[in-house]
Structures are given as structure tokens and as C-alpha cells.
């Protein structure tokens, strides 16, 4: 059994300690937003926030996250400024990689609210999109960055599953 904080709520899971977090999320908790793409930490489709960093859940044993905080695409709530920018810009094509792209973008903006285009490219180089939605990812991320500048920074880290908005440090 492993306990951790998932999308703002404590959870305890049964999976064996070596089970990658991705399969705990998908098979045991049936949270299907984080995707399986390569199983080797190469494509980023499985990205989740781990204490605020974008990590590859397909290669992270669940034992390693005991007591830590994990946020998945579901935890962003759907109204997150980055998600809104994604919808506004029609970023997705097939859409399979986009949960991971959004998670990595949230992590980037948390660390650097005003990233340059080069910084965006460097931060998202770990997230493959075979449909080539890259130009729209940059466009949407820049829009999210601007809209965040005009709002409460806590908005970025809002977790829909928790009752109240929490400051960044608390959730990530």
C-alpha cells in the first residue's frame, strides 16, 4: 500500500511498489487523462505534476511518490487558464498527447510566468506530438502566460478537487 496526495486529496493504493504511477492512475484509480505513449519516459504523454515538476509517470514507481503531491490533468479542473488557452486556440488534433503538453506547460508557467519562445521550446522538448500541433502549443502557452499575468497567480495551481483555492506551494 502506498499513500500520497492526488489532486488535493489523500489516496491509498494497493499496487505493488514497483508499479509505475501511470498504471496506478489508469488501472487502479481509473483516471484516464494521463496517457500511455512509450513506457520509457521518452514521449511525455504520461506527464503529471509531482511536487510542481512535470514528471514522466510511466517510469516513476509508485513507492517513490509515497507522501508526495501529484496533480494530473483531471486535477486542473477544466477551467484552468492553460486549458482555456488550449481550447481557445484549438491546439489539439488527435489530442492524445495534450494532457501531457498541458501539464508540462503548467509546470513551466509556475516556474517562469513569462517564458520566451525559446524557453517554451526547451521546456516542452520532452513532450512529443506526432500531429505536429507545436505552433499552436506555443501560441496557446503565450496566451496563457498573458492571461495569467492579469490574474491571481494562485489561479494557476487551482485544484478542482479541493474545496478552496490553495496557494501554489501548498498544492504543487
Amino acid at each position: 500500500m502506498t499513500s500520497f496526495v492526488l489532486n488535493g486529496k489523500p489516496v491509498t493504493v494497493q499496487a505493488s511498489p514497483d508499479t509505475p504511477l501511470l498504471w496506478v492512475l489508469r488501472d487502479e484509480l481509473q483516471l484516464m487523462g494521463s496517457k500511455f505513449g512509450c513506457g520509457a519516459g521518452l514521449c511525455g504523454a504520461c506527464s503529471v505534476l509531482f511536487n510542481g515538476q512535470s514528471i514522466r509517470s510511466c517510469v516513476m514507481p509508485v513507492a517513490a511518490i509515497a507522501g508526495q503531491k501529484v496533480t494530473t490533468i483531471e486535477g486542473l479542473g477544466g477551467e484552468h487558464p492553460v486549458q482555456k488557452a488550449w481550447i481557445d486556440n484549438d491546439v489539439a488534433q488527435c489530442g492524445y498527447c495534450q494532457s501531457g503538453q498541458i501539464i508540462s506547460s503548467v509546470a513551466l508557467l509556475a516556474e517562469n510566468p513569462k517564458p520566451s519562445e525559446e524557453q517554451i521550446k526547451a521546456a516542452l522538448a520532452g513532450n512529443i506530438c506526432r500531429c505536429g500541433s507545436y505552433p499552436k502549443i506555443i501560441q496557446a502557452l503565450q496566451q496563457a502566460s498573458q492571461s495569467l499575468a492579469a490574474t491571481d497567480p494562485a489561479e494557476l495551481f487551482y485544484d478542482a478537487s479541493s474545496a478552496a483555492k490553495q496557494p501554489a506551494g501548498d498544492l504543487l
Partner: protein, 732 residues
């Protein structure tokens, strides 16, 4: 409304000025999933009296945007905002057969062009019935009514009724005549309607095949022989039985299936499995031997697909003949979602298989059904295929081998839903690759500085040969025994292989040379191959447009002028070339950049690209790609732009990244570390310009791919003087 009373309304011969007469045909079969109490004027639409307007999407959504563009087309004529449709993925039904593909396949960039007429007629016919229903209610003439986004209006009396309020009356009506809108009246077509799938795909809610969950579901993986055509020699079942979470392991047609509680347990068991394979007929085959086989095949007499003038004499008389070879390697599809499918197989009271339900991200629901019939030992009527969203397709999911596997596995554990998941390694090592091809090009220019002679011989395997069985199976009625359908299909595929129209796609040059000969030679080394985004164009455009550049150089001419002068019979190619050149600033590259250009006419569309590169030593960077496309009427310009960008990224990956290589009859590579794909930090600036047109819409999903590689090769020549004739493009 009962099925027996359902009438299907079909548009037919045009009467007078654009007036189409609706007529009835009896329903061929119930539309899977249709509501029993709705107004269902045709296979695509249902309107309920509680306000649901359902659109059965008969093409699969794999990123190319058909959910939005096809809803836009039918919504335009129905006069209903496409954003308000409840879209359902269609099941298998004869009315959903593609007029160009003779199956329910999604491919060949055929979705919009093949549905343009039928969907407009379906929408208009339904609207006409709703108008008649309203007119009857109000006791006025239909001509006194108008519609506005889901409502019929009687403007003079200030009355209106919603489509929902009219559904029940409309369902009782005989078909009536109807008229299609004039382009000037379009409200949604041409307006970049927002994608209908954006919200679900930005929140993790979108359901891909990988995300299907059924009560009591278990997970399966298959361990396959890594050598193509190899077979099982022996295996030790006790190497996996008893491992954590493992429920069963057994042999199926493609390998050893392991069933476990979850994916991780199944995957760990697959790694622990002790199995011995017989390498099969391709043992010892490698990429170098494949090349030698292709070189030898060039000696064969080709099947000519384009011939004019007298090529032999023209080449014989030429002062100087350019005689070169081009080559493209095997290449993988790697959609982001690895292959997968879910199935539930159930038995009747006598313990015989009597039903199978399949959920699969696929590009051919009818082929999926045939495979479920075959591998499940079932009747067609007892198979239900549910198509999910696809995490990319690119042609790969037109080969639903994963459905055959999941049905074979589910049949062994009846009553338990089984989700089969391929690993990325499975996906890359058991693909239906873009074929490796080899090209002989010979040509000469004349003193006027134009092409005098052009000969192109293509050595490639046939796609049609392998498709015969599927195509015959889906087209012969269910009462024809499947064994007969399959043998007939195999025979037809074999007989058609030599003439396979996909082989020479993109090789029939549009240029006005006097002596032209293009021919194809079927040669198959045995590595599985198939449709790969843009198919024949993906290698033929590379060879043709590279060679045109070589002839331009031989003539001492500018590559753009050289092409433009010889496109007298191809005005739309001229337009896109001119537009791409103008927008890119052809001939005025910034210092340190070099330009290359190419044009193609894939899937009835026209596309030209200018690529700009910078070179340092033997390393290059693609800095900018400027594309111009004419795909007829632009249904959704934003989606068209995204698709061209998508094609550029896909085509660039194949032009510059590691290819698939064969060793000992198997694929050497296995994941994104040794088959890398283009990432965001490697992606050039991309500009897409769309030609204004009112012509019928043509293909878009694959149209951006073919011109990238040749335009890049031509740019690299301009930069370095090195003529690269083999993919991937590597400077020495």
C-alpha cells in the same frame, strides 16, 4: 418510429436549377445505435422531440478534424449550428461506405471530398421535411417558411418552431424535393468553426481506445515473434503462471497472449515469459540485402502507367542523359496512442460463441467487423464494432490486426472484457511500414532549356496485394462463405498488384515534356508494409521533384522558372507554386539561408512548398517552411492550416530522422530513443497560405507531407552543391 416504417431519404437526379428530388429507398439495415423514437431522415441524422440532434460520424476522428468539418457540412444544409450536434461514432452500415474507397475506411484524404455531396443532400433533405412539417402545422406553403439555426420560421406571422418540436410530424412525411444552398449563403462553411473536440481533448475527458473501461475488464498483452513471418517453436507456460496478477496465458495466431489484472502485471509477465521462436522465411534478411534485391528488380520490365512520345529514342539521341537513383527507407507510423482494442465475447446457453462487442481506435470499422467474424467464429449480425477517438492514425489503423488479436483472446475467456494493449516496442516492431522503395530516373533537357525526356521506374511492393482479402470480404454479402471471400480476395489482390494505383501516385509528372515514361515494378522483400500518410506520394514526390531540380540545374535554369514554364496543362499547380514562392520571397533568402522548392498534387489537391535551411559543416537546420495549398473550397481554413503544418512535421520527421532498418528479418529499433521524431524545439517556422476557391473540396489530411522532403533536398543542394537522393537526408 419502428424500423419497418423507417424511410431513408436520398438525394438523386437534379431537377431544374439546383432542385434535387428526394426519393425513398427502403432501409438496407438498421443504423447501429439509432434511437427508436427519433426523426431519422437518413443514416447520419436523428432528431428527437426532446431536442437532441444526433450526427453519426461515419469517418473516424484521428486529429484531422473530420468531426468538425463533416458536422459543418451537414449542419450548413440542415441549418443547424455544428457546435450543437451530439456526435456519435458510426457503426458499420452500408450507407457509410466511402464512394471512392469501397469500404468504410477513413483514408486517402477522402473524407471531405467523398462526403461533400452526400452530407449536404442529407442535411438539405432533412431540413426540407422539417419545413413541410411546420408549414402543415401553420397551414401555409413551405415556400413561406425559412429556417434559422435549428428553427423553422414563419416570419410574416412572427411564429417559429424548433426542429425538436417538428421531429415527430416530420418523421411521418413522404420525401420532398429540396435545394442546396448557394456558396454565398454559407454561414459556417469557410468560417473556421471551432473544433468540436477541443474541450474534451484539453481536459483529459476525451475517450480514446486506450481509455475504454468495461465492468470486470482485464488487461492482455501479446508476445510476438520479432522476426517477420516467424513462428512459435516452444514456450514455458509455468514461466508466467503464478506471477503477481497473472490470470492466464495461451497461444493465439500471432503469439502468446498473457491475461492479467492490469497492464503492469501483464507487461512484467511478458518480460518473464520463456519462449523460443523459429525465425521463419526472412531470417538473415537485412537492409543491405533488401537494397540489392531492389537493384536487381530494376532489370525487370515495368508496368507503364504514363507514356507519351518515344522515350527510348529521345534518351538515345540526347547529348547528355542524367541517370540517377533515388531511395526511401522503411518508415514507422508511431501514432501517439499505441495499438489497442477491447472486446467482450459471450457464449449462448449451449456454450457456443454467439456475440462479440469490440471497442477499437481504428480506420476501418467494416474491416474490424470482418476480422471479428473470422477470429471469433461469428455471424456478422452478432458483431458490434464501436469506434473510439484515435490517438493518431496516419494509415496504421487501417490494418486492425489488434482487433483480430483481441477477439482471439476474448474468445478464450468468454464473459470477461479484455483490453489488449501493445507497448511502444510492439507498435514500432510490428508496424505496416511505409515501404522502402528504389527509383531509377533518367532524363535530358533540350537546347530550349526544357525537359526533353523523362523516365522513372519505381521499385516498390504493392499495397493492393495485401488489401485484397479485406476489400473482398467487406464487399461480398455475409451469405458468401468467408473462406470463399478470402480466397477470392487473395486472388484479386494478387492479380491487381502489378497495376497497383498507389505505387505510382505522385510519379505522373504534370510537366509538359514531349517524351515521358513512368513505370512500376512490384518487388516485395517481405517486410510488412502499408498505407503511410500520403502513401505513394511520400516517396514519388521526393524522387520526381528532386529530379526536376536536377534537370533545371542541367538546363542552367532557376528551379521555379523551370517548373512554371512547363506547367501549361496544370494551372492550379502554377498557382500554388507562384503563391508559395511569392510568400517565401523566392530568390531573396536572408544571408546564411538557402531555399528549395517543390510542388505536388496529392489527393486531388495542389500543394507547393519553399523550405529554407541553414548549414554548418555537415549539419543543417530547417528554419522555415512556406506552403501554399489549393484544396478547393476551404471548409474550415483553421483546420486546413493545422493539417498542412501537421503534414510538414510528419514529412520532416521522415526526411531527417532515423529510418527503420532490418536485421535478420526483424526491425532493429524499438522506441523513440532510436526512432526519434520531430520535437517542438526542432520544428521550423511554418506558414500556410490557402488559395481561394469555390471548386469542390479535395483532400487535406495527407497533402502537407509529400513536398517537404524534396523541397528540403533541393534547399540542401542550393546550400552545399550536394544532391541528396536518399532519405533520410544526410550531408557528407
Amino acid at each position: 418510429m419502428k424500423m419497418s416504417r423507417r424511410k431513408l431519404l436520398m438525394g438523386s437526379a437534379s431537377v431544374g436549377a439546383g432542385l434535387l428530388l428526394g426519393f425513398e429507398v427502403s432501409a438496407k439495415a438498421p443504423v447501429p445505435g439509432a434511437l427508436s423514437d427519433s426523426f431519422q431522415p437518413n443514416a447520419w441524422l436523428q432528431i428527437t422531440d426532446d431536442g437532441r440532434v444526433l450526427f453519426q460520424l461515419h469517418k473516424v476522428e484521428m486529429g484531422q478534424g473530420v468531426m468538425t468539418s463533416l458536422a459543418t457540412i451537414i449542419g450548413e444544409e440542415l441549418d443547424f449550428d455544428p457546435a450543437n450536434f451530439e456526435v456519435q461514432m458510426a457503426g458499420v452500415h452500408p450507407d457509410f461506405t466511402d464512394p471512392n474507397l469501397y469500404s468504410q475506411m477513413t483514408g486517402a484524404s477522402a473524407s471531405v471530398r467523398g462526403s461533400w455531396t452526400s452530407l449536404r443532400e442529407a442535411g438539405a433533405a432533412a431540413r426540407a421535411l422539417l419545413v413541410v412539417a411546420a408549414a402543415q402545422r401553420w397551414g401555409i406553403e413551405p415556400s413561406q417558411c425559412d429556417t434559422d439555426d435549428g428553427r423553422v420560421l414563419n416570419s410574416s406571422a412572427g411564429q417559429s418552431l424548433s426542429y425538436a418540436e417538428l421531429a415527430s410530424e416530420a418523421s411521418q412525411l413522404k420525401p420532398v424535393s429540396y435545394q442546396l444552398k448557394a456558396a454565398a449563403d454559407y454561414r459556417w462553411i469557410g468560417k473556421s468553426v471551432a473544433r468540436l473536440d477541443s474541450a474534451d481533448k484539453s481536459t483529459g475527458r476525451a475517450e480514446f481506445g486506450m481509455d475504454v473501461v468495461r465492468p470486470g475488464m482485464k488487461t492482455s498483452v501479446v508476445v510476438r515473434c520479432p522476426h517477420f513471418g516467424g513462428r512459435l517453436e516452444s514456450w514455458q507456460k509455468d514461466s508466467v503462471i503464478g506471477l503477481d496478477g497473472v490470470l492466464d496465458a495461451f497461444v493465439i495466431h500471432s503469439g502468446i497472449a498473457i491475461v492479467a489484472d492490469g497492464y503492469w502485471q501483464a507487461r512484467k509477465a511478458a518480460q518473464a515469459l520463456q519462449v523460443q521462436w523459429h525465425k521463419g522465411p526472412l531470417a538473415g534478411l537485412n537492409s543491405a540485402k533488401i537494397r540489392r534485391g531492389q537493384e536487381q528488380a530494376l532489370q525487370q520490365q515495368p508496368h507503364l502507367v504514363l507514356q507519351r512520345g518515344d522515350i527510348e529514342t529521345a534518351l538515345g539521341d540526347a547529348r547528355e542523359v542524367l541517370d540517377v537513383k533515388y531511395a526511401a527507407p522503411y518508415f514507422h507510423h508511431s501514432p501517439m496512442e499505441p495499438q489497442n482494442a477491447t472486446a467482450l465475447y459471450t457464449l449462448d446457453s449451449d456454450g457456443r460463441g454467439n456475440h462479440c462487442e469490440v471497442w477499437a481506435p481504428n480506420q476501418a470499422p467494416d474491416i474490424c467487423r470482418e476480422l471479428a467474424v473470422e477470429y471469433g467464429g461469428l455471424e456478422h449480425a452478432n458483431v458490434e464494432i464501436h469506434t473510439t477517438l484515435l490517438g493518431g492514425g496516419f494509415g496504421r489503423r487501417g490494418y486492425p490486426d489488434f482487433v483480430a488479436e483481441v477477439v482471439a483472446i476474448a474468445r478464450q475467456v468468454p464473459g470477461t472484457p479484455i483490453k489488449l494493449i501493445w507497448s511502444r516496442e510492439d507498435d514500432m516492431q510490428h508496424d505496416y511500414y511505409r515501404a522502402a522503395t528504389f527509383h531509377s530516373l533518367k532524363g535530358a533537357v533540350n537546347p530550349q532549356g526544357t525537359i526533353e525526356a523523362w523516365q522513372h521506374h519505381i521499385v516498390a511492393p504493392s499495397i493492393i496485394r495485401g488489401l485484397g482479402v479485406s476489400m473482398m470480404s467487406v464487399n461480398l454479402p455475409p451469405w458468401v462463405p468467408r473462406v470463399v471471400a478470402r480466397s477470392l480476395g487473395k486472388w484479386v489482390g494478387g492479380a491487381a498488384a502489378r497495376f497497383d494505383p498507389t505505387t505510382a501516385e505522385g510519379a505522373k509528372i504534370p510537366y509538359t515534356a514531349e517524351h515521358v515514361s513512368v513505370g512500376q515494378i512490384e518487388h516485395d522483400p517481405g517486410v510488412p508494409h502499408g498505407f503511410w500518410r500520403s502513401v505513394g506520394f511520400s516517396y514519388n514526390s521526393f524522387a520526381s521533384e528532386g529530379f526536376v531540380d536536377e534537370l533545371a540545374q542541367a538546363a542552367g535554369r532557376d528551379p521555379l522558372d523551370f517548373r512554371m514554364q512547363q506547367l501549361a496543362d496544370a494551372p492550379r499547380q502554377k498557382t500554388v507554386l507562384q503563391l508559395a514562392a511569392e510568400k517565401a520571397g523566392w530568390g531573396q533568402a536572408r544571408a546564411g539561408l538557402s531555399q528549395g522548392i517543390a510542388v505536388a498534387q496529392p489527393f486531388l489537391s495542389h500543394c507547393a512548398m519553399v523550405v529554407e535551411v541553414s548549414v554548418v559543416g555537415n549539419q543543417y537546420t530547417v528554419e522555415r517552411v512556406v506552403a501554399a495549398v489549393d484544396c478547393g473550397l476551404a471548409i474550415n481554413p483553421a483546420i486546413i492550416k493545422a493539417q498542412i503544418q501537421s503534414g510538414i512535421v510528419y514529412g520532416l520527421t521522415a526526411a531527417i530522422k532515423n529510418p527503420v532498418t532490418i536485421e535478420d528479418g526483424r526491425v532493429l529499433q524499438s522506441n523513440f530513443h532510436d526512432l526519434p521524431v520531430l520535437r517542438i524545439n526542432e520544428t521550423p517556422v511554418m506558414e500556410v497560405h490557402i488559395v481561394d476557391s469555390l471548386a469542390s473540396p479535395t483532400g487535406i489530411g495527407e497533402v502537407g507531407v509529400p513536398t517537404v522532403a524534396p523541397a528540403l533536398a533541393n534547399a540542401l543542394f542550393a546550400a552545399t552543391g550536394q544532391r541528396l537522393r536518399e532519405l533520410p537526408l544526410r550531408l557528407v
